[in-house]
Symmetry: C2
Subunit: 466 residues, 2 copies
Amino acid sequence: MVSEQIINELKSIVGKDNVFTSKADRICYSYDATQQSFLPDVVVHPGSTEEISRVMKLANRELIPVFPRGAGSGFTGGSLPTRGGIVMCTERMDRILLIDEENLVATVEPGVVTEHFQKEVEKLGLFYPPDPASLKFSTLGGNVAECAGGPRCIKYGVTKDFIIGLEVVTPTGDIITTGGPTMKGVVGYDLTKLMCGSEGTLGVITRIVIKLLPLPEAKKTMLVLFDSIDGAAQAVSSIIRSKIIPATLEFMDGRTLDCVRQATDLEVPEGARAVLIIEVDGDREFLDKQAARIAKIIKPLGVVETRIATTPEESEALWQIRRSVSASLRKVNPNKYNEDICVPRSKVPEMIRKVDAIAEKYAIPIVNFGHAGDGNIHVNIMVNKKVSGDTLKAEGAIRDVFKAALELGGTMSGEHGVGIAKAPYIPLEITPEAARYMKAIKQALDPNNILNPGKIFFDDEDFVAE
Amino acid sequence: MVSEQIINELKSIVGKDNVFTSKADRICYSYDATQQSFLPDVVVHPGSTEEISRVMKLANRELIPVFPRGAGSGFTGGSLPTRGGIVMCTERMDRILLIDEENLVATVEPGVVTEHFQKEVEKLGLFYPPDPASLKFSTLGGNVAECAGGPRCIKYGVTKDFIIGLEVVTPTGDIITTGGPTMKGVVGYDLTKLMCGSEGTLGVITRIVIKLLPLPEAKKTMLVLFDSIDGAAQAVSSIIRSKIIPATLEFMDGRTLDCVRQATDLEVPEGARAVLIIEVDGDREFLDKQAARIAKIIKPLGVVETRIATTPEESEALWQIRRSVSASLRKVNPNKYNEDICVPRSKVPEMIRKVDAIAEKYAIPIVNFGHAGDGNIHVNIMVNKKVSGDTLKAEGAIRDVFKAALELGGTMSGEHGVGIAKAPYIPLEITPEAARYMKAIKQALDPNNILNPGKIFFDDEDFVAE
């Protein structure tokens, strides 16, 4: 528990209006997209790097855990205050400090909402590609901490690929800068990339230097329905083999289409067992030609129907089928475990077959959709927690899904991170030697295990044992 | 000194034919491109990851420093055996293990020569863009350790951007794998990117998983001579602003052109004070249009002459002017300090002006060329070490150049790393807090300070003091 005296000290650091201790307020910061909830002792909203540094020093002095938080939209519990203590929310630090059109670089505070940033740079003809599904409310600080992905990553890369510098408050309260606004830099270890995806365990991100691209002139969307998942997967390979890297290559499997067919009035032909949404972007005059080439390439692969948008509105309409998935799934079963495994692109059909077998083994519906171009499949295990045994079944299925992905040379998580949700499964993917290496880094930088403790690796008691 | 008993133990690990102790042999592994030389006690050529692991364990047991080495082509002494001990050369581990055309991924051993790898993937219509000047002899392991760059980085990124997984022998001899063959992965800390550019101080790279791209169909080269460096810099900005990111945007300043004019019979018009070599790549039918657009954009910026290649041979001829620079410089003065500072792209003209002032202050010739699109300038300080005072002048100039780059928001090194050459200047760029963070990582992973000690940070005695 955090004492009254500490609360007062926190108020003197961040201002009394930015310290929250009422139960109602604390509940608001107790959960994330995992739907799990852990009540913090106190929530602080710092307004500056210096304030964060002072909070971290106080927390180290008093050995109080600190849980950094953006918008709390994470899928693995990365920001959950699992041990009470202090939730440090960066939502007040939401300024875009610089958009440098000359150098294609921006500097932002961590609390800037992803979509807001994208729109601001697009007004200037610039482009920040990473597009996690939560972009309307997720923050850039959270995106960096989790290394967020999204559909456009196949062509443009993940969050990490756009982060070239950071200001960070270390777990012990030092303020450091890493990297900077240059396109290259090899002086010292790359702490920038180390911080990306470290899930708030190695430092609190207080400023972000972002590399931008020129905004593509136009985009063109195609929706292609296939009679089998193999046809769709073959299409992905063939497109890439023909040297076209589309901006998105999203897929949905037959079970997902069944859900959409049942839950909506969107037109999904009966014979369709997979869909690809293919978007190409670039110079306008080039897109028609590219779309035509794609149509030709995929034609022999069991295409049931091809729909091509010619206006932004038609493009939006094509995306409707993808956007309707979440709501459609809810009709299957009320509770969803959304795992985001990633396998080498060519292994997608094999992975889907393995998932189908797992669904059969546990007799629960599992539907797959996601980023086919990356081999990044969102495996949705649909259960009803109120039905006895369903949760246990889901846990068995999740473990089997992870094992299957790893057998195919894949990973348990392409986008969501580990947090607490996947921490129990870490030994499946990370060898004890590699884990020791990672924990050694954590221990070196956070000797008191103050910052977001118990994330990624549950057993941080191992720190003592080492 | 390494005892006879240790030598025998090394022979039993890597085979007696792969341990070298004669002075002649040791001299061969005593230097790199810095022209500095430090004699190792013994050179080993391991043939496998397991052998490297065993050597590292032996070295830890006996507290013998180990210096990993690829081709020894580095510019900052990263591979120099500054404290005797063992040079561990990876040149025997030179197999390309896999080129996966389906997934655009390759797996290689560290000793594969960069250009050999590029040619092998190009045979299959694939593309590995990083192109350090040393690519004809540098190894991929060395490229990863130093995070090598090259002209094509403006469009495609640096070595790190293509490395998605590694097998590494840790300083204490554990074998770990990091990342893997998937395009996304966020399970645990990103040790892959941490290893990239860590200059062989955090682990010995034994296997590399590389992301590939489809090979662009064609390229088109233009050489443009400008009447001022400002015109050339303005051209770089204008091209990028117009949403064209060329594959290369190389520049040479007026002083470099003077050298070329004096030393070769290449045609360099008198009024030319800067040159850009602009290469665009992609679909053939698109390149003419792009080249025409570029020509139109840069026309008002003081263009003295534009040369456009229409065949690969003509393209080679245009690159001659750039390739002749090294030899031309030698006629100015015999010794060259080649520093590779990097500034935000828009600051290139200001940086060149600062360098000109530094050249005047110390009364030594300094010529600049490099990767204008990245703001990555190779500042060549030309001295004659046999002339009394010249070395001291160069050292003063180097410090001033670094300070100038940092004042402009840049870095001391865009490509070459720190090694021992830039280690004395580290405090100019890395704050004590950030250095402490980096050293804590080194200390955590290499408690005996066995692996490439004294690189990046000279003062590793600080490990004790911390």
